[in-house]
């Protein structure tokens, strides 16, 4: 901190799409040797601001200054050549290439005029990965890596370029605690080399962990900037949301111990083994574990998306044979998958059609859909979940992350399930939407139903779950009650 001219600065920038402003008045100052948190809810204009800083979009008004000089980047490549690099939420990995080839993509080291010097690339990539402390071999094929490892390669790719400003959009959303910690160390090393870093994340603990200054945006407008040490979590949340939020409570103790869903000796080779658990009426049961701990594979198998090799599944004491999601739905299970864009939603279809897809058979006779009934279901669902969309006829792709997640939940609820299984239900969505989803869980279980929630966010698990199952290497490492659990013990058990 403290240099007079910032590395990169936006002054009163604005940008609209089809007459609808995404950013009205955006300001940000990125200084050398600093990690700057850019905070705001979904739809606050963070992504649009970032896109203007990196040349993906051009501002309609206002100006961008590089070392105090006005600039106008016409393309990402242009910004990149000026030392500004972006790691976006969506991975840009090429799966069939090696790690080293991905790191040097677009700036391959040459041998002769047209050849690629693979040997030198591998050596330099290895040195880079070692310096960052990422345990990845440069000659591995990308397809063999986990999602978290791919994210680390993306980061190495950006860091491998010689740049002064690095913008990271939700870099830890797919990472477990241990991997995130490794990333933080790398980011801090960059800061110490005078790089200016913009860090965008909905994980507030991450921001307090590594950032030293912040900018808050709301409704496309700059709200406040300051030093991280001068703000607390509560005030930051209030700034982001724009209103006071109730302090989140821990859940009330369970009224009954009546099992709704029982799992006995569930196992699948290479993923998870011999899992037994009971999910009670009125319970929110958390599954906490790192990526690759088998937690997602386990819930996918419960729902019939993957086959389990062994084990029994009982709903209300009756044994079930589940050969596919249709059986699970019929048995009263519903599943909100981990990645709403990849496996959750049909992005090319409308909001309404996404909500009604699982329950069409209830809305139709002889295969013909009763339009009135469908309309009623969709209107009720959008009202219940407070889904903000111009109309339920627009494509679901146009909605913000939080609203998309609400559409997924609305779809799950349309079949009136008894058990809702959620894998990372609040990943990448803003604080306000998160709270609405938590409130919905409590309302749902109060009717005698139950929620099984996989999450890698410690706060979320502790604040919402009656009990927490810790997954480690495909096994249940421990079962904890939320009243007694401490954050540190969760992390310890999971890693």
């Amino acid at each position: 901190m403290g240099s007079l001219t910032p590395l990169l600065e936006a002054q009163h920038v604005a940008r609209a799409f089809h007459g609808v402003p995404a950013v009205r008045d955006g300001n940000i100052r990125i200084e050398s040797g600093s990690i700057h948190a850019l905070c705001g809810g979904n739809g606050a204009g963070k992504s649009t601001l970032i896109n203007m800083l990196t040349g993906i979009l051009q501002p309609d008004a206002g100006q961008i200054l590089r070392n105090g000089e006005p600039v106008r980047y016409t393309s990402p490549r242009h910004a990149l050549s000026d030392g500004i690099s972006l790691i976006s939420q969506e991975l840009t990995t090429i799966f069939d290439m090696t790690v080293a080839e991905n790191i040097f993509l677009g700036r391959e080291l040459r041998r002769g005029r047209i050849g690629v010097n693979h040997k030198q690339q591998n050596e330099e990539a290895e040195a880079l990965l070692k310096r960052l402390g990422f345990p990845i071999s440069p000659t591995q094929t990308m397809a063999t890596l986990s999602l978290a490892e791919m994210q680390l390669v993306e980061i190495a790719k950006a860091i491998g370029r010689d740049m002064q400003v690095l913008i990271m959009d939700e870099p830890t959303s797919a990472l477990g605690e241990a991997e995130a910690e490794r990333l933080f160390t790398a980011v801090e090393a960059l800061r110490d080399h005078d790089v200016g870093i913009v860090y965008v994340s909905h994980r507030l603990s991450d921001l307090f962990r590594i950032c030293d200054s912040y900018t808050v945006m709301r409704d496309g407008t700059f709200i406040e900037a300051g030093a991280m040490e001068e703000i607390d979590r509560h005030r930051l949340v209030t700034l982001i949301v724009g209103e006071e939020l109730d302090e989140q409570k821990r859940p009330e103790p369970l009224p009954s111990q009546e099992p709704l869903l029982s799992v006995r000796g569930f196992g699948r080779a290479d993923a998870f083994g011999e899992i037994s658990l009971d999910l009670h009426r009125g319970e929110v049961l958390g599954i906490y574990g790192l990526m690759g701990s088998g937690r997602s594979e386990f819930v996918s198998a419960l729902y019939g998306l993957d086959k389990a090799d062994q084990g029994q599944l009982l709903v209300e004491g009756r044994e079930l044979t589940i050969n596919g999601p249709a059986d699970a739905l019929a048995a009263g299970l519903a599943f909100a998958t981990e990645d709403r864009k990849v496996t959750g939603l049909v992005l090319t279809s409308s909001v309404g059609h996404n909500i009604s897809i699982t329950s069409l058979s209830d809305l139709a006779s002889l295969g013909f859909i009763d339009q009135g009934k469908e309309r009623h279901l969709i209107d009720q669902a959008t009202a219940r979940f407070g889904i903000k969309a111009a109309s339920s006829a627009i494509d679901v792709a146009h909605l913000s992350g939080g609203n998309q997640q609400k559409v997924v939940l609305a779809r799950c609820m349309a079949t009136q399930p008894k058990v809702l299984i959620c894998d990372e239900p609040t990943r990448g969505i803003d604080e306000g939407a998160k709270r609405q989803i938590y409130a919905f869980f409590q309302e749902f279980v109060a009717q005698g139903c139950a929620v099984l929630m996989v999450s890698s966010e410690i706060h979320e698990v502790i604040e919402n779950c009656h009990r927490i199952i810790v997954f480690n290497q495909g096994q249940i490492a421990d079962v904890l009650s939320s009243e007694t659990v401490a954050q540190t013990s969760l992390v310890h058990l999971a890693s």
């Binding site: 739905l329 998958t337 990849v342 959750g344 939603l345 992005l347 139709a364």
Partner: protein
């Protein structure tokens, strides 16, 4: 200032409308242009002729719409239409001719069966549709050549030929069949559970599966529908030409795919519909007819048509990226 803002607002609305209805606009412009350019175009004879001509491609394009909505493709439709036409023709030859109803059932049945083979290999064996239907293109053509011994099957019964040549109240039978196919398909895609499944499977098969949609069954079914419609198209073609030709239907897949794509149905699946395809079919039909009327050689026609297809997709792409 506010006047200027209002003006840009109106301008935007007009541009939006053009964006959304660009293909329909193109069809109307084409129709008007042909009416002005050629005095013979806007006559009952010619328009009836166009309606008859577009029917076969229209029926195939409707089937292709189902396939492409699931992000698939079917290259074998010309060959399947040929074998269906030949099988049907063989039942209505000369003195031993059976009722045309039998021929229709046989033709459509053969088409649906071959479609089932395509669909099963795509849906259950997970082979790429391009490869599966490329194989079927060759297999079905070879089978047609063996079945017909490389010779046309002619001397068809008059009842059967009525299918391709007859009129009801001045409307050609092929056109009536095409219209029926369009209405049923439009309704199926728009208002039935099955239709929703087709869109969901094409838009995101993984999400569709999570939602309890029988993804493999849906994928298989669109090739069966395509096959059955090939049977229908093959019958009409045979009846119109009064003979089953072993080389019938060669390259028909190109016009069918072109009609679907020009209409705006996305090759990536999940977006589009029957209405769009009908517009695409009419555009191709009018281009063919217009070029014929103007005496443009069929060699040039191919070049013009090919360019229009690529141009249509290019325009569509830039239109979508503005969203």
């Amino acid at each position: 200032m506010s006047q200027a803002a209002a003006d840009t607002q109106t301008k935007k609305q007009i541009l939006n409308w053009i964006n959304k209805n660009g293909i329909l606009l193109a069809l109307i412009l084409l129709f008007v242009a042909l009416s002005v350019l050629n005095q013979y175009f806007l006559t009952a004879t010619n328009l009836t002729n166009v309606a008859r001509q577009v029917s076969i491609n229209g029926i195939l394009a409707v089937g292709m719409t189902f396939v492409i909505l699931t992000a698939g493709i079917d290259l074998s439709i010309g060959s399947i239409a040929a074998i269906c036409g030949a099988v049907a023709a063989s039942l209505v030859v000369g003195d031993t001719a059976m009722s045309p109803m039998v021929a229709i059932l046989a033709g459509v049945g053969v088409g649906a069966t071959l479609g089932l083979i395509n669909g099963g290999l795509v849906g259950y064996a997970f082979l790429p549709p391009f490869v599966v239907t490329l194989g079927m293109l060759s297999v079905a053509r070879g089978t047609t050549l063996i079945f017909t011994d490389g010779m046309p099957i002619s001397r068809l019964s008059d009842e059967f030929k009525f299918l391709g040549q007859g009129d009801v109240y001045g409307l050609p039978i092929p056109t009536l069949i095409f219209m029926a196919v369009v209405i049923v398909s439009w309704f199926a895609l728009k208002h039935t559970v099955y239709g929703r499944w087709v869109y969901a499977v094409g838009g995101n098969p993984r999400s569709a599966r999570t939602s309890g949609v029988p993804v493999r069954g849906v994928i298989t079914s669109v090739y069966v529908i395509m096959g059955a419609l090939c049977g229908l198209a093959g019958l009409i073609l045979t009846a119109r030409t009064t003979a089953a030709l072993p080389q019938a239907g060669v390259a028909y897949e190109l016009d069918a795919i072109a009609a679907v794509v020009i209409g705006g149905t996305s090759l990536a699946g999940g977006v589009g519909g029957i209405g769009a395809t009908v517009i695409g079919v009419l555009i191709i039909g009018l281009i063919n007819n217009g070029l014929d009327l103007m005496g443009v050689s069929s060699y040039y026609q191919q070049i013009i048509k090919g360019s229009i297809i690529v141009l249509a997709v290019l325009l569509d792409r830039s239109r979508r990226s503005h969203h």
